[in-house]
Symmetry: C2
Subunit: 278 residues, 2 copies
C-alpha cells in the first residue's frame, strides 16, 4: 500500500465542529504552562493565539486506510499558524481541514504533506489558518516532486536580541493532553520506550505553545492580539519538566526569527522560527 | 434578616445532575496534584475517592436570599465523605443535597449547618455520602441548641505511625477550580487580599484531596477502593506551592486518625482527621 497523491489532494475537506468553553480555553493555557491570570481567570479571560492549533482539529486522520499512508511512521515536522482575528474564549468553532500539497523527498526519505485547516467561528469570521507539515517517513517515492516545499526561515548569524526562559512542569504533558491530543506517547512510559524515548515526551504543540508565550512576553507586551503568525520546525522532543529557552532575533516590521532549546540537555528543539507581530 | 431553622430544615432536596467524563475525572486528579498514572491516564483510569466532594455538587446555594443567611461570613468547617462504592470514572451522577441539622453556638459565635449530599449513579447505586459542616459565622443565636453536633475525632498523644509529605504546585488552585469551585478567592489576588489573606489560597477541598492521596499511598497501597471514609476539620488555609505533611496514626480495624500541616509555616491546616480503610 502506498499513498496516491491524486486521492489525497482530492480528499474532501474534513469539517470539524467544536463547542469551545472558557474551561477549555483555561485548560489549554494551563497545558502550555501559562501563569498570567489573563489566560487563567474566566472573569478576564483572553485566548492564547497558539490555541488555534487545538481548534476545529479533526484528530489524527491518517489512520484511515483509504489514505494508504504508513501512519505509524508519521511525524509532525513543521507548524505554521496565522491569526486573522483574536481567538474567542468560548463559542462554536468550525474547522475545515484538507491536504493542500504533497512533496516527494524520495523513496528512502519520505513524503511531506501540507495539511491546512481554516478555522472560523459560527458567524463566519475567519479566525486562523493552521498549516502542518506532516512528515510521512514511510511514503516517499510516490512519483512526485519536492519542488515548492516551504523553505525554512533562516536564523541570523549573531547573538539573539532577546532570550526568554520558561519552565515546564513534570505533569505538563498530562495537562496538555486534555486539550485533545490523547496520544499515549505523552503519558505511557511503555509506549514512549517502544518509540525509542527515555520517557513520555511533551507534545510538540505544547512546546510550540510555550514558545508562543515567550514571544508574547518578550515582543507583544503579553497582548495576544499582537501575535499574528508563528511558524517553525520541530527538531527534537522536550521531556516534561525541562526548561525551554527561546532566543529571538528582531527583523524589520515587527517580524521575528527564533529558535528554542532545552537548557538541561543543550538541545535545539524548535528551529527556523518565524513570527509576525503588530 | 436571620436564619429560620424550620425553613432551612424543611428545604426540599436540591437535585443536581451531572454528566461526568473521563476528562473531568483526570482533571480532578490533576487538581489535587496526583501523579500516579492510574488517576491520569484514561486507558487505565480509576477515580480518586475524594472526587466525591465534586460529584452532584449544587454549588454555593447559601446566596439564595430565601435562606436568610449571612452568606459572606460562611466558612467550610468540616468535611466527611463516606464511600459506599468505588466511584465511576464517567457517567451520569445525581446528587441530592439537604440541610440535615442545625446547631446554634450562640449569637456571638455562629451557627453550624450539616449539609448532606447523597450521591448516586443513574442506575441507582449509592456511591457516596458527603457531609459538610458549614460554619455560618453571622447566624448564631437563632434560638437553637448546640447539642448533638458532631464531636471531633481525638488524635493520639504519641508519635504518628506514618508521615507523608506531598508538594502542591504554584498553579494547584488554578487547576482545581476547573473541577467546579470558581470562587475567585482562589485565583484573584485582590479578592484574597480583601478577605485578609496574603494571596489566593488553595481550596480547602483541594487540601482534603491531597490528604486523601497521602492516606491512599500510606495505608491503602494506592487502591482507591480501600478508602471508605475521610473526615476532619479545616483549621487554616494552604497557599498553593506549599508542602502538605500528613501525619497518620493507626487505630484498630483499619481505622486511622490523622492531621496535616504546612511544612513551610509549621501550621496545622487540617485536624481531627478520621478515616476508615479496608
Amino acid at each position: 500500500m502506498a499513498i496516491d497523491p491524486d486521492t489525497l489532494l482530492a480528499m474532501p475537506p474534513i469539517v470539524t465542529r467544536q463547542r469551545l468553553t472558557r474551561r477549555d480555553t483555561i485548560l489549554y493555557a494551563l497545558g502550555i504552562g501559562a501563569t498570567e491570570l489573563d489566560f487563567l481567570f474566566e472573569e478576564r479571560l483572553k485566548a492564547l493565539p497558539t490555541m488555534a492549533v487545538t481548534l476545529g482539529y479533526p484528530g489524527f486522520f491518517w489512520r484511515d486506510p483509504a489514505l494508504g499512508a504508513n501512519w505509524q511512521k508519521i511525524l509532525h515536522g513543521e507548524q505554521s499558524t496565522i491569526l486573522h482575528a483574536p481567538l474567542p474564549v468560548e463559542g462554536e468553532i468550525i474547522g475545515s481541514t484538507m491536504i493542500e500539497a504533497l512533496y516527494d523527498k524520495g523513496a528512502g526519505k519520505g513524503a511531506l504533506a501540507m495539511v491546512t485547516r481554516e478555522i472560523h467561528d459560527r458567524a463566519g469570521t475567519h479566525l486562523a489558518t493552521s498549516r502542518s507539515m506532516t512528515f510521512l517517513r514511510g511514503d516517499g517515492g510516490f512519483g512526485g516532486s519536492s519542488e515548492g516545499a516551504p523553505v525554512p526561515h533562516p536564523l541570523p548569524d549573531r547573538a539573539p536580541d532577546a532570550v526568554v526562559t520558561l519552565a515546564t512542569a513534570a505533569n505538563q504533558a498530562q495537562i496538555y493532553r486534555l486539550s485533545g491530543d490523547l496520544n499515549p506517547l505523552h503519558i505511557d512510559p511503555e509506549v514512549a520506550a517502544g518509540a525509542g524515548f527515555d520517557g513520555p515526551i511533551l507534545h510538540g504543540l505544547a512546546t510550540y505553545g510555550a514558545i508562543g508565550r515567550a514571544l508574547l512576553a518578550a515582543r507583544c507586551a503579553g497582548d495576544p492580539a499582537r501575535l499574528k503568525r508563528i511558524d517553525g520546525r520541530f527538531s527534537a522532543p522536550v521531556y516534561p519538566g525541562e526548561t525551554i529557552e527561546t532566543s529571538i532575533w528582531d527583523e524589520e516590521g515587527g517580524k521575528l526569527a527564533f529558535r528554542a532549546r532545552v537548557v538541561e540537555r543543550d538541545r535545539i528543539v524548535f528551529t527556523n522560527g518565524y513570527a509576525e507581530t503588530a
